[in-house]
């Protein structure tokens, strides 16, 4: 046997999450199918997330201190916990925690099969936490599948509406194709490199990429598979329909936590490879065009939406483009730490802003059939000044206006790309973020300048309203502290204890 108890402690957060996820369902099974009080289930789930976060921290502190290194590996180097893992899993746990409260606030998900929702959400979280830890392409694939399968089911559970079934089927089929392409690519990479361990592949990558057609083919296919998962532009067409058809809290998870996990998987795929000394620059051109197209198409398409949720979906596609610029820096730039740090900071800022805006959608949703148009927000500044101000701050941050955290997220990404010499890509990024100001400010204009009866604020959605306000405060405070946070992220990723 070549594993021991300490390796189980490394993955203890996952065990803890799993145990918390089955409690509400087990109780339901012993009570003849009668649900637990939803609030109790919610507390179990929150307890699971908090415990998992604490266990991650203690594992990190313990193992890093014992070994003196800033990472710990387990299960024949298939799992690694380093700075990226810690930051990634914290972002995921916090965002999923917020979305659990949104699930509780949303009438559709609370009244029907709440314990199953909790189970699926927490298992998707196990998948995401595992993606972030993964150091092996097999683990990456299995955990992406665990995450995606839970999401397909969550989307399909959303009431018996035509739209949700369409969304679930579309996501299932397209996600299945994406996974198949990813797995096909991984098989070719294994054929070329003879291993699936990411570090070992990375050491061989640059040399094999030039000399071995199979490896090149596999790398491109794997990139396409990941691009499906993070909705980069030629592969983004599922995103708006799926985001619209899913229950809003589930959309919140997909737009934030799942995206964070998939981005980190993509990042790890490139992190150890020294692609910057490739002789041909075709590959980096391909990646740059993916990022540029994503930003342009995402922002231009978002202008044309009057459905608030669809607008957010296209905005999330556009933000994938900005974050992907940081991945390009990490993989093709000489200073990969700059890329990694700016990516982590960007994902942090993006998650906070986006989860707040989706919480606002939950505040207005009386039933799953409610369609929130941008014009339905009119007169909100009179009816609920706090919500209007909170949403305005979140939208300013998404547009990247200073001094919010969204501005600093973009600032660090753009400065990293300029330092590494990706000038035209940075130009496209700045230009498209100027375009985005138009559609982000339109809801603000509607809220403050237009009078009239829009949608009513649901009084019972207490948690969602709090999350809007909390994330708005977070956006401002973290924005003011951003240089300190950036240095903190940087030190936890690059330095050992």
């Amino acid at each position: 046997m070549n594993f021991n108890l300490s390796e189980l402690i490394v993955v203890a957060p996952l065990f803890w999450l799993f145990i918390a996820s089955i409690v509400p369902m087990t109780v339901k099974a012993f009570r003849d199918g009668q649900e637990m009080n939803p609030f109790t289930s919610l507390m179990y789930a929150t307890f699971g997330l908090v415990g998992a976060a604490a266990l991650t921290l203690s594992a990190v502190k313990g193992f890093w201190k014992i070994s003196g290194l800033n990472f710990v590996e387990a299960f024949s180097r298939a799992i690694v916990i380093d700075g990226i893992t810690v930051w990634g899993s914290y972002i995921i746990f916090v965002v999923v925690g917020f979305c659990l409260f949104l699930l509780y606030d949303s009438k559709e998900t609370r009244d029907k099969l709440f314990s199953e929702h909790i189970f699926l959400v927490l298992n998707a979280t196990i998948g995401m936490a595992l993606v972030v830890m993964s150091n092996n392409l097999i683990v990456t694939f299995i955990s992406i599948e665990l995450m995606s399968l839970s999401l397909y089911l969550l989307i399909a559970l959303n009431k018996e509406r035509l739209l949700s079934k369409e969304a679930a089927l579309k996501y299932f089929v397209l996600g299945g194709v994406g996974s198949a392409i990813l797995l096909y690519g991984i098989a070719f990479i294994y054929g070329g490199a003879g291993t699936t361990n990411l570090q070992e592949v990375g050491e061989l990558a640059a040399q094999l990429f030039e000399n071995n057609v199979f490896f090149r083919f596999g790398t491109i296919l794997t990139c396409v598979g990941f691009a499906f998962k993070i909705s980069l532009v030629p592969f983004h067409s599922w995103a708006p329909d799926v985001y619209q058809g899913a229950a809003t809290p589930v959309t919140g998870i997909m737009a934030t936590a799942v995206k964070v996990a998939s981005f980190i998987a993509f990042l790890r795929f490139f992190l150890y490879a020294d692609f910057y000394d490739l002789n041909s620059d075709q590959f980096v051109w391909f990646m740059q065009w993916l990022a540029a197209l994503t930003m342009i198409v995402g922002n231009v398409a978002a202008i044309m939406q009057d459905n608030f949720k669809r607008m957010l979906a296209y905005s999330s596609v556009a933000h994938s483009g900005y974050a992907f610029m940081a991945v390009i820096v990490a993989s093709f730039g000489t200073d990969s730490d700059a890329g990694v740090t700016s990516l982590m900071f960007y994902l942090l800022s993006y998650s906070i802003m986006t989860v707040g805006t989706f919480a606002l959608v939950v505040v207005f949703e009386k039933s799953a059939d409610t369609v929130l148009l941008t014009t339905d927000l009119k007169g909100l500044s009179k009816r609920s000044p706090a919500l209007a101000l909170g949403l305005s701050l979140l939208l300013f941050s998404l547009a990247g206006l200073p001094p919010s955290i969204g501005f600093f997220g973009k600032f660090y990404v753009f400065s990293a790309t300029i330092e590494q010499g990706f000038y035209w890509l940075t130009f496209v990024g700045v230009l498209s973020s100027i375009i985005s100001v138009y559609y982000y400010l339109r809801p603000v204009v509607v809220m403050y300048m237009m009078d009239g009866e829009g949608f009513e604020v649901r009084k019972e959605a207490f948690f969602s309203r709090s999350i809007v306000v909390l994330s708005a405060i977070g956006v401002c405070v973290l924005g003011l502290l951003s240089s300190r946070i950036f240095r903190f992220v940087q030190s936890s990723i690059t330095e050992s204890l």
Binding site: V11, I138, I142
Partner: protein, 174 residues
């Protein structure tokens, strides 16, 4: 020499059966052709010295998955009178031919004109990990964690499926 003859026999079976899947108008017969194609592919695995994968190919694909397909196709009871396996639109007809032609040309050009860099890391087929016993050892030591996570994946699927069937309307929309 015998290797090559056996290879061509199995490859011929798979190719002919795969063509049958595509061209036969009756879906039930198509699925049966798929079984034959799987058996051909599994024979290829045997000749490559990978008996375990060959057996799994027969047991899992031909034995379980395809039979499931067959049941689904039979339950749907598709009427196939006078239907062609392809639609022949005015434009799409030529577009399809064009794409198939391009793809075939690409594959043939790669095969006929030998290019550099077509090298797999080819492990020794007689290496010990190709024995089923050693495969099992590796699976339960080096890859044990992945194996356990797959168990979790398999747990999520039935629970989700049961929950889905309990939603009013189930898999069908209002």
């Amino acid at each position: 020499m015998a290797d090559i003859v056996v290879f061509y026999i199995f490859a011929g079976i798979s190719l002919a059966a795969a063509a049958g899947v595509v061209f036969h108008p009756n879906p039930v017969v198509s699925v049966l052709h798929l079984v034959a194609a799987m058996v051909g592919v599994s024979g290829l695995f045997f000749t490559l010295g990978a008996p375990f994968i060959g057996m799994v190919q027969i047991l899992v694909y031909a034995g379980a998955v395809i039979i499931l397909f067959l049941f689904v196709v039979m339950i749907f009871d598709l009427k196939t009178d006078g239907k062609n396996p392809f639609t022949y639109g005015l434009v799409t007809h030529y577009a399809k031919l064009l794409f198939i032609g391009c793809l075939t040309g690409l594959l043939l050009s790669k095969l006929l004109f030998k290019l550099d860099g077509f090298e797999f890391q080819s492990p020794d087929p007689l290496a010990p990990q190709y024995e089923v016993r050693n495969l099992a050892k590796v699976m339960f030591t080096d890859y044990m964690f992945m194996f356990e996570v797959l168990g979790l994946l398999l747990l999520v699927i039935p629970i989700g499926a049961v929950a889905l069937s309990r939603v009013r309307g189930g898999t069908h929309a209002e």
